[in-house]
């Protein structure tokens, strides 16, 4: 993770020597004084521009990977991720609405930094609630499959709404698209502070309850026999994961693949116990996204590639590789 941190801060339009950057980063720790040999301007680039962006990447990546691993455990479905429950689609729809409405009001609304995060929260939590209600309407035995189906329906619904809005307001398409494809571009410390409380809350709740995910994996009946309230655990974990997703989405738009690839990679490498998988997913998810962001910034410099494109481009083949090697080891 420290490697990702140094790489993320070093690489960019103005290249800085990694050694000096590492020294300067250590200087931020209390009681450390190292001479990095960097000018004040270069130090400013590190602390004000690059560091917050890398830190945000770490937080968002960790949140998405944690939420993904959590959903997969809760639903006992390897395909579950923050996108499955309609969480991301709800956030996307709400943010699109906010941007379109904001433009109608002369840009005053979107000018406020709080609008988009708020819209994302409202949208994603609204989508989760809707998914619950739809899933609950499917019958008294709310099986995990029913909830997933409800999530897909909610996703489709919000996706359609979003497409309609975009069609009606094609002049705003650029702005919405850049957000939809994911970006850590405008990140300053402000965004980091915005995400941090939700990050802490989500991480604490999910990590404290991660044993229960293992118990849930044997099914509700047996989990009950082992003294658990399966439904209660499930709702708590879903709520926490959704909150984390909303925070991640509001800070950086829709970044796919992290929530599904990272936990699976950890699972293939380190076994299936959530006690181990979830903390590791957080670490690697954060490092993965921070490194991906480096590629996004530098591959086509000075232009930036949307990070969502890079996660999919890098993540897909990487995952295939892990899958193949893990299979071979298992045999």
């Amino acid at each position: 993770m420290f490697v990702a941190l140094v790489a993320g801060v070093s690489l960019g339009p103005v290249s800085l020597p990694p050694g000096s950057v590492a020294a300067e980063l250590l200087n931020l720790l209390p009681g450390v004084r190292l001479d990095s040999g960097l000018t004040e301007r270069e130090i400013a680039i590190i602390t004000e521009l690059r560091l917050p962006r890398v830190v945000l990447g770490l937080l968002v990546g960790a949140l998405l990977a944690l939420a993904g691993g959590c959903y997969q455990g809760v639903f006992r479905n390897p395909l579950a991720d923050p996108y499955l429950l309609g969480v991301a689609a709800g956030a996307g729809f709400a943010v699109t609405t906010a941007i379109v409405l904001g433009a109608g009001a002369g840009g005053a609304l979107t000018g406020l930094p709080i609008t988009i995060p708020l819209a994302a929260f409202v949208g994603s939590l609204g989508a989760v609630v809707l998914t619950y209600l739809l899933g609950a309407a499917g019958g008294r035995d709310r099986s995990p499959a029913t909830l997933i189906l409800a999530g897909v329906a909610v996703s489709a619904f919000f996706g359609a709404g979003q497409t309609y809005l975009l069609q009606q307001h094609s002049d705003n398409i650029q702005q919405v698209y850049s957000w939809l494809l994911g970006r850590l571009a405008t990140a300053g410390w402000h965004d980091v502070w915005l995400v941090l409380p939700y990050f802490v809350l989500t991480a604490v709740v999910v990590l404290l309850h991660r044993r229960e995910l293992d118990v849930l994996s044997v099914g509700d009946d047996e989990a009950t026999g082992l003294g658990l309230h399966p439904q209660r655990s499930r709702y708590l974990l879903i709520a926490a994961a959704s909150l984390g997703t909303a925070a991640a989405v509001s800070a950086s738009g829709l970044i796919g693949f992290v929530g599904i690839i990272v936990p699976h990679t950890m699972r293939l490498l380190f076994g299936s116990s959530h006690r181990i998988i979830l903390p590791l997913s957080m670490l690697f998810g954060g490092a993965f996204l921070a490194l991906t962001d480096v590629v996004a910034r530098t591959a086509a410099a000075p232009a930036e590639i949307p990070i969502g494109v890079v996660t999919a481009l890098l993540g897909g083949p990487f995952f295939v590789l892990v899958l193949r090697t893990a299979r071979r080891v298992a045999m």
């Binding site: 006992r76 390897p78 404290l208 309850h209 044993r211 293992d214 118990v215 994996s217 044997v218 099914g219 009946d221 047996e222 009950t224 026999g225 082992l226 003294g227 658990l228 309230h229 699972r267 076994g271 299936s272 116990s273 006690r275």
Partner: protein
């Protein structure tokens, strides 16, 4: 201590509007092995689920003298352990981690497993000769080995009442005997009480102290195997053509093709 391990009185359970159990009485003394038999759909599994606390219905279920509703979930899980008919085998989970799940009722809600929990798991695995399998993936084990692991998880729960729902239905005849001998040995050594359901009537009679014949949600007969496994009772409730032959450990029920 004199309270029976299980006392069920006038239990009625309906699922989806259909009555499954229509007033069942059942008593299992501590240390006893009682097996519930009966045709498909008689309510055997439902009865077991009710005793395990997974279902509630009008009527009384008490474990060791305490009404089951008065037990908190974690307390209940320390008293009664269930091996389901076909337990879920979580993908990728090791035998050790699976057995450790049995310690759930002892691990604080937000805490982690203690050294005592890990020691308990090791002890159970050794006892069931599963030590060499500890780090194998559960899904890669054979049927007989898996059944031993399911038992190991239930034993790790430290419960004195064991509910076994068709514990041998997936096993060949040799492994059936192996698993049931193991259960009986554990019962004697640890003073466990066993309440099971079974389809194979001869085997049910050989291992149980008492049999309970369930039919249409009611107890049609109950008592020692030679009182329950009679040609008249079985012909009536199973609508089967059988012959009952005396055996060394109880009556042997042999299916005979109708002429």
């Amino acid at each position: 201590m004199n309270a029976p391990a299980v006392r069920v009185h006038d239990l009625r359970v309906a699922l989806g509007g259909n009555p499954i159990l229509a007033g069942v009485d059942l008593t299992v003394s501590a240390g006893e092995w009682v097996t519930v038999i009966g045709p498909n759909g008689a309510g055997k599994s439902t009865l077991l689920r009710a005793v395990g606390g997974l279902l509630t219905g009008p009527g009384e279920v008490a474990l060791f003298g305490t009404p089951i509703g008065a037990l908190r979930r974690r307390e209940r899980a320390r008293v009664v352990a269930t091996v389901a008919q076909s337990p879920v085998v979580p993908a990728g989970m090791s035998v050790f981690d699976y057995t450790l799940l049995g310690r759930t009722p002892y691990i604080p809600a937000l805490g982690r497993e203690s050294a005592a929990d890990l020691a308990a798991v090791h002890e159970v695995l050794d006892r069931l000769d599963l030590g060499p399998f500890a780090h194998r993936e559960l899904a890669t084990l054979s049927g007989g080995e898996r059944q031993r692991v399911f038992l190991a998880r239930a034993l790790a729960q430290g419960a004195t009442l064991l509910l076994l729902d068709e514990p041998t239905s997936a096993l060949d005849i040799g492994h059936q005997q192996e698993v049931l001998e193991l259960v009986d040995q554990l019962r004697r050594e640890h003073g466990l009480t066993v309440l099971a359901t079974m389809h194979d009537l001869s085997i049910a009679g050989e291992y149980a102290d008492r049999l309970v014949l369930l039919a249409d949600g009611r107890v049609a007969a109950a008592g020692p195997p030679d009182e329950v496994l009679t040609e008249a009772l079985l012909a009536r409730h199973y609508r089967a053509h059988i012959r009952v032959i005396p055996g060394d450990h109880g009556p042997l029920v042999v299916p005979v093709r109708p002429t």
